[in-house]
Amino acid sequence: MTGPILMKGNEALAEAAVQAGCRYYFGYPITPQTEIGAYLAKRMPEVGGVFLQAESEVAAIHMLYGASCAGKRAMTSSSSPGVSLKSEGLSYLAGSDLPALVVNVQRAGPGLGGIQPSQSDYMQATRGGGHGDFRNIVLAPASAQEMATLTMRGFDLADKYRMTAMILADGTVGQMMEPVLLEPAQPLNIEKPWALTGTQGKREKNIVTSLYLSPAELEGKNLSRFARYALAEQNETDFEAFCMDDAEICLVAYGISARVSRSAVSAAREKGIRAGMIRPITLWPFPTEALRQAAKQVKQFLSVELSMGQMLTDIELAVRCARPVTLVSHVGGVILTPEEVLHAIDHAVEVSA
């Protein structure tokens, strides 16, 4: 492919999945992520893959579980209410140490909520989202381009750490069209000796299970899983720092809120306010160390999110409350404007002065 192509974020994500070697998609229709299914319904047959519309979100994630058991790259996608239904599967995938890619193009909740963009599934995503102790790698794209690149990365990380990688997008990033450069992916080729491909009479049987009736054995499984999580925290934490060199106030924002914050930071700079932004690209692992370092330099933090301070909690934890953290947010599908964020910056700077 030559040059950037104008694509919706959802379509960029879908094509990137194909480029990453994913050949199995299982999903159920829900706004605002339907383009992913529509795209793959056409695309999968072209590459010899399988697109299957499942009877439910629950069935879809367990079909993904099955395909992952077979050692194949597979995915499902949904939006907030659908992801709640998938939370059972997320837990089983984690308990069985299966790689998977799960997409949540968030809409406003709780309940049926609305269909407009939101970031109110932050806690659900970053804490695992199902029963039991587990984590997902959570990637937060802020552009159509990142919908593609982070999807490719997500498949690699899922295979590398044998865990679910979740793309936590929102309706805006999913629906927005931007030029996307689809560089040919070179997927990590990780052996999966644990896969259920039939013994072929050549090896001992493989069992993929999340059931361990001995507490000691189950504790051991949890501990070894968390040792892997620690490696992911060490190696895979990612963020973007924008105008942070001399910043006095640090905005923290991801996804669409980071786009809005970028505009607000530039506007603040024009007014002579030394604003900067740290944009988590991985929400789990969270860029704790980067924020801790920033806390030595900035006077305060501003959490910019389309939720009621869900990420703010993580910022406070990261900086151990060494600096004040305030919140600017909208919920319910209302999106922050750069002017509102600028106003919040002004206000925060005024109060601290």
Binding site: P4, L6, T31, P32, I115, G171, T172, Q175, M176, M177, E178, P179, I256, R259, V260, S261, R262, S263, A264, S266, I335, T337, P338, E339
Partner: protein
């Protein structure tokens, strides 16, 4: 340049925006295109925001557009107060009989729906407005327009490219002609004033 395009669902609002976005990519600009999306498939209101910029784009939302392309009265009413001073409102005068109230923006009217049906191009009022938009906001030559259409029109509708080109040309010609006439008329009117 921040552009807001608004009208009824089914008027081709999103497609018009897509063409502008594709044209932006062709010209090497940073581009975002953001649709409104609602529960209804047909009817209702539709709008989309397009930003073309030489710098990386922050927020893709357009709250204060430089250019408003209004395809029906409710859209004009809703969005005209938001247009930046010195900006432009381009509207379909076949469907919008009341002139916009703003005096600090450039107003450009074109009976796009009528022009389309006169030319046997029903449903292409959006392309006629695009022609008008391109005439001053985003100068593209014939080849670039064709290229943009080829990029945007789905393969199974490729036979419609020619009709789209035709509509764009009508829009461009008509607005340029109208504005020329208006210009010379203004001169004629202003001339006696000067004398008097």
């Amino acid at each position: 340049m921040r552009i807001l395009i608004a009208g009824f669902g089914g008027q081709g609002v999103l497609f018009l925006g897509k063409l502008i976005a594709h044209a932006g990519v062709l010209l090497g600009k940073h581009v975002t295109w953001l649709p409104s999306y609602g529960p209804e498939m047909r009817g209702g209101t539709a709008n989309c925001a397009v930003i073309l910029s030489d710098e990386p784009i922050g927020s893709p939302m357009v709250s204060e557009p430089d250019v408003l392309i209004a395809m029906n009265l409710p859209s004009l009413t809703a969005y005209q107060p938001r247009v930046q001073t010195g900006g432009e409102i381009l509207y379909d005068a076949s469907l919008i009989r009341e002139a916009p109230e703003r005096e600090d923006v450039r107003l450009r009217a074109l009976p796009a729906t009528k022009l389309a049906s006169d030319a046997g191009l029903e449903g292409l009022a959006n392309m006629i407005l695009l022609g008008a938009f391109l005439s001053d906001c985003l100068p593209l030559n014939e080849t670039e327009i064709l290229h943009t259409l080829e990029q945007t029109v789905p393969r199974h509708k490729a036979h419609l490219i020619e009709a789209n080109r035709h509509a764009i040309a009508i829009g461009k010609q008509t607005i340029e002609q109208t504005e020329q006439e208006l210009h010379s008329e203004t001169k004629r009117i202003s001339h006696p004033r000067k004398v008097g």
